[in-house]
């Protein structure tokens, strides 16, 4: 496990894995999109708008997974002082925020023909909006503290405090039970969704998960490279402006 903590090893491994991950995500997404948008029928009640679900539901799952990723990485930062945990959390935040926004926007587009309104103050919509704000807060905190390790630890504390919200999002369906339909895929007694809709949905969920990891690894690599460049710049600036070392001290 500890060899993964070595950024050099991580760069080498992720460099090998990434092209395959991207390709796999692309293939599964292509099949899922084909099945969802061309090879499956519209719903007898919702008509063609049911197809928004193939984007909306996986995005919502990934939005929650993104925060879980940040939460676990934050534990890694605070407890194990793992050098990559902080990079992982920082890289996951904008991706998670983008998926949350995607879930909110596709939900609004789906809501207009189905509920008759773009936005309803329903419990699950609202908690997703809160999740989006939590992401924004994390990103803002990262950007306002200059020192990297300090920013990482501050964000980790905030992420753990904010993760109190994750169960609230998940169980809000049962707590408030309002306009939004209840869970229909993961629940006791098996899914209550027809197989013809379930297959493209599951394929898209797998595709989005692969996409998440591909984006996450790419963002982590970018962050590591960015830190290396910053380090090199600092070193070069030191060399350029440091007073020359006296010859006597070098000789001794």
């Amino acid at each position: 496990m500890y060899q993964f903590a070595n950024p050099t090893f991580f760069m080498k491994l992720s460099g090998i894995v990434l092209p395959w991950l991207w390709a796999l995500a692309g293939i599964v997404a292509a099949i899922g999109l084909y099945m969802g948008f061309l090879a499956s029928p519209g719903d007898y009640q919702q008509g063609e708008t049911v197809r928004i679900m193939y984007i909306h539901v996986p995005a919502a799952w990934l939005a929650m997974m993104g925060y879980t990723m940040i939460f676990l990485s934050s534990l890694g930062t605070l407890i194990f002082r793992h050098p990559l945990a902080d990079v992982s959390a920082k890289a996951a935040a904008p991706i998670g925020a983008a998926f949350t926004l995607q879930a909110l926007v596709t939900g609004a587009i789906w809501g207009k023909p189905t509920w008759g309104t773009y936005w309803a103050w329903d419990a699950r919509l609202t908690s997703f909006l809160i999740l989006f704000f939590l992401y924004l807060g994390l990103i803002a905190l990262w950007n306002s503290i200059e020192e990297q390790s300090k920013a990482g630890r501050a964000a980790a504390i905030l992420a753990i405090v904010g993760s109190v919200n994750i169960p609230i999002i998940h169980y809000s369906v049962e707590w408030w039970n309002t306009l939004h339909q209840g869970a229909s895929v993961f629940k006791a007694g098996g899914p209550t969704i027809a197989a013809v809709f379930l297959w493209p949905l599951l394929l898209m969920a797998i595709a989005f998960t692969l996409l998440f990891f591909a984006l996450h690894l790419t963002a982590m690599r970018t962050e590591i490279l960015r830190r290396r460049v910053a380090g090199m710049r600092a070193r070069r600036a030191d060399e350029a402006y440091a007073p020359p070392i006296p010859a006597a001290s070098v000789a001794s």
Binding site: L78, T126, G137, A140, S144, I157, L158
Partner: protein, 222 residues
């Protein structure tokens, strides 16, 4: 317990003798509530309907306004470092500071709420639930606010960042506070569950947030 009480007494004395802090929060609360009818129109029926929510939201904003100063002065003049070296663990320092904020800001704001309720034509039956839920719910605001205050210490424009960080975390307090009041206004019974959740949230914040605040303070002091 004595160092805790000493610190608490010191903070309350400072807030009272300095004067500015309490007055500013109360003044802000007053002006936010006073400016709303100017935007919404003078319809008293509308105002009395939305009064509990308006009073709660304005209270959150007013309490937040002073929250970023919980550690500010002590951090600037080095008192915080001296306190950290003392016998009191940072967790209890954080708890004392948050308690002092609650006593000197949230408590006066909650007590002023009925007066502002008069201006919004709030139903007489709602005064007791309003103050009651505020007294029960505001400790969560002070304690969660102290986490944000500790995280944003030493950041320029920290106050703005603080609101982005902690306002989402205040939402459960707002939801359960207002729904307790409306449940009481609708009829007897049925208000116990939101009230109990509000209490649970408040108690959990009091117990848990000093640990997060102390972790953030340790980061600032390192």
């Amino acid at each position: 317990m004595t160092p805790f009480l000493t610190l608490l007494r010191r903070d309350i004395a400072l807030a009272l003798r300095e004067g500015g802090a309490i007055g500013t929060a109360l003044g802000f609360y007053l002006i936010v509530v006073a400016i709303l009818p100017l935007g919404l129109g003078p319809d008293l029926n509308l105002l009395s309907g939305i009064a509990p929510g308006v009073l709660w939201v304005a209270l959150l904003l007013s309490a937040l306004l002073s929250a970023d100063r919980i550690f500010h002065a002590d951090h600037e003049d080095g008192t915080l470092e001296a306190l950290a070296l003392g016998p009191l663990p940072l967790e209890l320092i954080a708890a004392a500071k948050a308690t002092a904020h609650w006593l000197t800001t949230a408590l006066p704001l909650a007590l002023m709420a009925p007066l502002l309720g008069l201006m919004l034509n709030l139903d007489i039956a709602a005064y007791l639930p309003l103050v009651g839920t505020m007294l029960v719910g505001t400790p969560a605001i002070s304690f969660i606010g102290s986490i944000g205050a500790a995280l944003t210490l030493g950041i320029r424009r920290g106050g703005l960042l603080l609101s982005l960080l902690v306002l989402p975390l205040f939402i459960p307090v707002l939801i359960f506070g207002v729904s307790t009041i409306s449940a009481i206004l609708v009829g007897p019974g049925g208000y116990m569950s939101p009230l109990l959740i509000l209490m649970a949230f408040s108690v959990a914040s009091i117990v848990l947030s000093p640990f997060a605040t102390a972790a953030a303070l340790r980061l600032q002091l390192s």
